[in-house]
Symmetry: C2
Subunit: 476 residues, 2 copies
């Protein structure tokens, strides 16, 4: 086990904090509830941004930037929205040495300021759809914070689209959820369940909210992304209408969708182990590190010279780093890269030059293999591809083995206390029973999964009739 990292089996929560510290991903800041994202952590966010931004642009979206300030009276225009967000806002009351006439909220989310602008930009059906995304910081005053998972300030993207019909807005809402699913599963190697949030859990101001839910290694749930069909609520609040093809004025239909630096928390808690961070290859800015080993200057020259030849054609294929620092022993270097989660570590010393081999260590399995220096490039590429797939499969297998159908409330309480997990349970669709469930078990309905078949049963909490199962879990 790595020095300084608590074992998962001993204290999962401390393990999480230790992994972050050991990999230097983030720090608490002197500002209460706010984190500093350190370079190693920020590099992961950059990988996420690049991949997501590409997916957004491929689906026709463009980026823009709106002010971080929201005038108080804007927040109040959408009744549900202000109820949901105003209590957790940071408020600017002074600017330029003077008290402001109207306080400004720092955006907790940007629907209101964006729809105030859309009023000027949308007149006709020809202006629709409007498909805009923003990369930004947002602030939500949190009492209990946790690095990446819940911080007062965090980074995110928020898509805000405008459409001519409900159907188009609904298709967009579902499309973006699918983009999130693709990103989570194919890039982060994090399997997710897609589904609909209950009325109680939906976004403040939405008709309905879709989500992706992931399972962490302690078998707790983490909401990894949401996509909202906002109906005409914000258009009506900000009086945004358009002339349709028939020449009539109609209110515009809206969606919004977002993922945040919380995804870094999801990534850590899905894959990492007792030795530290484990990154899937697609999330590693540098997926390959080489640690050369030498005792004398001649050996150093020989090893570095061979590496020069071996790595000649790597640049266009994958990023790599040669760790040739000479004030650190190889063991220390191995340890450092292990803690930082670099997918593949190569070790090469004078003896390997003779045998024409190299040691290849996979971070996910910690498997150490001697491989030939011939065809090394192909070997690395295929290993990276296998890791990406294997890590997803492993996480999926874990989720499956921790997902259970339960029909008895007492059995449910016992099992969730003993081992966490996702539970497919019947529910009568009422907010009252949902609240009772949470009060009594600290578990919540994570979503009504898209793929849940119709099935008659009895509500776990009330015994009343139910037509399909929902997913219940304790969550971050």
């Amino acid at each position: 086990m790595a020095k300084g990292i608590t074992k998962r089996s001993v204290d999962y929560s401390r393990w999480y904090t230790d992994v972050i510290a050991a990999a230097q991903l983030a720090d608490h800041s002197p500002v209460k509830g706010c984190m500093v994202i350190r370079p190693t952590g920020y590099a992961i966010w950059e990988q996420m941004q690049t991949a997501l931004d590409k997916l957004f642009k491929e689906t026709g979206h463009v980026n823009a930037y709106f002010p971080c300030f929201i005038p108080e009276h804007f927040m109040k225009k959408e009744a549900e929205h202000v109820k949901g967000f105003a209590p957790e806002c940071a408020v600017v009351t002074h600017g330029g040495g003077k008290k402001l006439e109207e306080p400004l909220f720092i955006r907790p989310t940007s629907e209101t300021i964006i729809w105030a602008m859309y009023k000027d930009w949308i007149q006709s059906y020809r202006d629709l759809p409007l498909l805009i995304n923003q990369w930004a910081n947002v602030v939500r005053w949190e009492m209990r914070t946790r690095l990446f998972l819940r911080t007062t300030e965090f980074l995110w993207q928020e898509g805000h689209t405008a459409h001519a019909t409900y159907e188009e807005a609904e298709a967009e809402t579902k499309q973006m959820l699918e983009v999130y699913r693709t990103f989570a599963e194919e890039y982060m190697a994090v399997p997710v369940i897609t589904g609909k949030k209950t009325e109680r859990e939906k976004f403040a101001g939405a008709l309905h909210t879709y989500c992706i839910e992931a399972m962490m290694q302690d078998a707790k749930a983490l909401q990894a992304g949401t996509s909202h069909n906002l109906g005409q609520n914000f258009a009506k609040a900000f009086d945004v209408t358009f002339q349709n093809e028939a020449g009539e004025l109609e209110s515009v239909w809206a969606t919004s969708w977002g993922v945040s630096t919380r995804l870094i928390g999801a990534l850590i808690m899905t894959h990492s182990d007792d030795n530290g961070l484990v990154l899937p290859p697609k999330m590693a800015a540098v997926p390959v590190v080489i640690v050369p080993i030498w005792k004398s200057d001649e050996e150093m020259d020989a090893v570095l010279k061979r590496l020069d030849v071996l790595t000649r054609n790597w640049k266009d294929k994958f990023n790599f780093k040669i760790d040739d620092r000479n004030n650190l022993r190889p063991g220390r270097k191995f340890n450092e890269w292990e803690k930082k989660g670099i997918p593949i570590r190569l070790e090469v010393g004078p003896r390997d030059l003779e045998t024409n081999e190299i040691v290849l260590v996979r971070r996910d399995t910690c498997e150490k293999t001697r491989v030939s220096q011939d065809n090394l490039t192909e070997r690395i590429i295929s290993t990276l591809e296998s890791m990406q797939v294997d890590m997803f499969k492993k996480a999926l297998a874990f989720r499956r083995s921790n997902t259970h159908k339960v029909d008895d409330y007492d059995e449910f309480k016992e099992r969730i206390d003993a081992a966490g997990g996702f539970y497919l349970v019947h529910w009568n669709g009422q907010t009252a029973s949902e609240e009772k469930l949470q009060e009594e078990t600290k578990a919540t309905i994570r979503c009504i999964p898209f793929d849940a078949p119709e099935e008659t049963g009895k509500c776990l909490i009330t015994g009343q009739p139910s037509t399909r199962r929902v997913i219940v879990a304790r969550a971050y």
Copy 2:
């Protein structure tokens, strides 16, 4: 002339606003002094970010993210810094529904919060240099604002580095100024003068500040980027020391450097014309647009089919867009792309299919040429390359013809009133005469240029002895 754009010769300031509106680059927001960067404008910022980020990484820098909040007592730790920045800060006094124990300033720049963290990260000479950059929004309360040039909130990057010696910090300060010069000249095609700011104009808290200064088409100056040698001021304020190789404790040496969305203003005012925005190829996300022309469905099919063949190998070489909207006439499309500054517009109709030609229009010169469809790809690439160079040369020639040596104060006043311009004048090095100059002429010392030779003369304002010329201009 384009509809809706005031001519430069009639009203330069209105022309600037009109160009921005016509290209849909930005809008004023309902929040006083804050702008909305619209998708067309934000695409330029993305081009800038991509190019700069690459240059930063090539010089060894990594990105990170620090909180947007700065506790009031942090600001006060560096005496000059608080004097310079506190009066223009936005202040958060309430969070989560409660009054805060200590007000939080929204970052106007991040030296203080970053050096508070560096205290934890730096112990030994082995931790140095620390080369970190941050992409972020910042807030400075401005009374008179102007889109891109001066807004209450703006986007920028801020580099913050830590070094073991003054010499290293100084080398970094100069290196980053050189990165900015390269970016301005080779990417934005904006010629700049590099030099040192006077004591009066330097950054609040710096030993000295270097800058790049550009000339706009009204012959006024615009400060486009700054790089500061902060000495040990922030290290001392935040008690950041390191153990040197000899085992002694020393204060760390610091630099900071930044450019912002102001660069978009510089880009607009350097190259655009009375028809709208003109983008240098490297700043255009899509440098080539094709407007197909047809009257019948058969013609449309034939033209689009040919375009399919012609553009087959373009994807990997440059971005392009085929404007096949059929609810707009070609003339409207030409006008739209002209206003948006797309470097090359291609027009192709049924007649061109017969003659195997295509119309190519260069946005910078408005030159319209019929070119062969054979070797069209190469022709486009070489035209883009020429435009990039020609636009720089044109801007440089303009600056040269508007830069003058003057030794008589009255002549200076007359000439700057009549035609703006940069003036190489002698100055006695005293803040008092610098202030007098500004009071009497509204002009300021832009910089002490690096390339100004030693030369004895008499101060323009006081007649006292001077050893070299400085650059004086009215500025944005």
